[in-house]
Symmetry: C2
Subunit: 359 residues, 2 copies
Amino acid sequence: MPLILKTELADVASQINALLQADDYPNIIQPEYLKEAVRAYPCSGGKRLRPALLIWTCGLLEGCIEKTPHAAAAVEIYHNWTLVHDDIIDNDDIRRGELSTHCKLAEIGRNDYALDAGAAVKFGRDFAILAGDIQQGWAVNMLLKSVEDGVDPAVATALCRRLQELVNRELISGEAVDVQMPVMNRSHLSSAMVMEMIRQKTGVLLRFCAEAGAAIALELTDFFDPQIAALGRFAEAAGVAFQLRDDWLGVFGDFEKFGKTIGSDLTERKPTLLLMETWSRLSASKREELESLMGLPEYGAIEIERVRALMQDTGADKIVREMADFHVEESRNILLQFPDSKYRELLLDFTNYLVDRSL
Amino acid sequence: MPLILKTELADVASQINALLQADDYPNIIQPEYLKEAVRAYPCSGGKRLRPALLIWTCGLLEGCIEKTPHAAAAVEIYHNWTLVHDDIIDNDDIRRGELSTHCKLAEIGRNDYALDAGAAVKFGRDFAILAGDIQQGWAVNMLLKSVEDGVDPAVATALCRRLQELVNRELISGEAVDVQMPVMNRSHLSSAMVMEMIRQKTGVLLRFCAEAGAAIALELTDFFDPQIAALGRFAEAAGVAFQLRDDWLGVFGDFEKFGKTIGSDLTERKPTLLLMETWSRLSASKREELESLMGLPEYGAIEIERVRALMQDTGADKIVREMADFHVEESRNILLQFPDSKYRELLLDFTNYLVDRSL
């Protein structure tokens, strides 16, 4: 990661961390362990990429970035509530090296209330549902506090409506389709469906970050404004590129570097674009070979090499890399239409970082 | 129910039904069955008591009730999203005579994707979590559309912040405490805790309805305004009275009329105020008798009579009725401080109806 990106991201993170730590929204939540669960993910650090995107997009348009802290904190909380519910749905036990919310709450059920294993799992899940529900409200509230940063109430209202109309229903639709796809008959799936799912699940929140930064800078409430729309697309395309690259690294990444994430999509039979493009190009016998390599509990070098060969031989590997590159280019080209500035450099570095985390 | 209340409630219901049916928020939700699940509870009718409370409180203050439809629809959606998640948590299979959301979605998993029983339950639950999540966003969006009814953006922003700060975190805290209490040691519970849970779980959304109607009428953003605060308290007290009465009817209600809801709180060992007040007044041997009568799968006339006798002998029955009456009186007295009008009559009838649904 370039030094300037690293330094500026650290600045954003310390500002957002301070704001989230100090915010009194969770204070009156009962019981105490629910309050802790609500604060856990949002306050546990992380790179704060979404807040940075919002703030820097505001800066790119020479907006007053002093108006952005609450909006920036809001997108971070929003991202985190979706993780709490996703972790329940995906049965993910670990998040950022710690127990995920529903697992931590299940421990409370076991330890404080002596629940048996099944009851503790339900207890943890029930409270994690409620924790995410409160976090969604917290995010909305934080966004509306933008008014205290000097954002016009009409702009704050418009941002909050956009958060619902764009992010709430599309991001959650993306998550829903992601949950649905593995249980669908593969012949009913298409690459277009996968691309739309990625746009919704990963792209729209990033799009909102850029749109919000731009709307605050320009003091506009119309998201069809050409500059807002262009910057929204810049961020959405970067998000899609990131996800395609991430899925690609899940098979073609360096074993040393990415460790046990290599092959995990294959274990879950996740219909990534890489898999869809491979599948659609294989003969019946090769499909059987690929199928026999799917759903293994673990992938060693030999199994991964066989999967990689099928993906390379069909050209699917190249198609996915090209699709990612196409989105990165689109993203960069939009940025390059804006005047050169510190913020443009940061956003270009940010896009590069998203798609090549070895930087 | 008095005829005027019935007629005016029907008017509110038809207006709210039309608005919810026509609203395009759910339209782009994918997959189709998730869209249906999002629309199901809010569009399935019901008495629309919360919208009526909001609209009539606006009318009481001689506000322009043409400014209220979106806010009124919003509180109805808000109420319904909490039901979707509560039904998951409480394992409730039926809602308003139909399968609850998570059960209906489990059917999709079974029928459309041939999932086995366990996988279908998880599928239904996962999608119901997402449906409630989208509904929460829909409610916020609907509230912000008040601007289209002529509500000032500053008032709309203030209402939306209040929805989060009052309703989101307190209502959900109330639900959390309600889930927690049955697994707690009874000696750690208190009547005060039960009363606070009732205020949060049932009272605060009704409080918000009245506050929102008042804030729209008075064009104010300050919820400490004496009229707004008083009307908020009127609605909260009515809600608490309703819940106390409902819990009382769960034991002392007419078998013919309330059918299988009689005894269901006892089956679930739900720590109602009635139970807490009884328990705290019993000798050790009588506590054993009560304990032997708790958690039965069904309650016939003989079992119910034995429970009733314990509750009457301790005076708990009378205490709970008096507590309900006290809240009704508080509620009525606040209303009577406002000038007589059609809306005051409706709100008085409304309060009476809440606590005596035999009317």
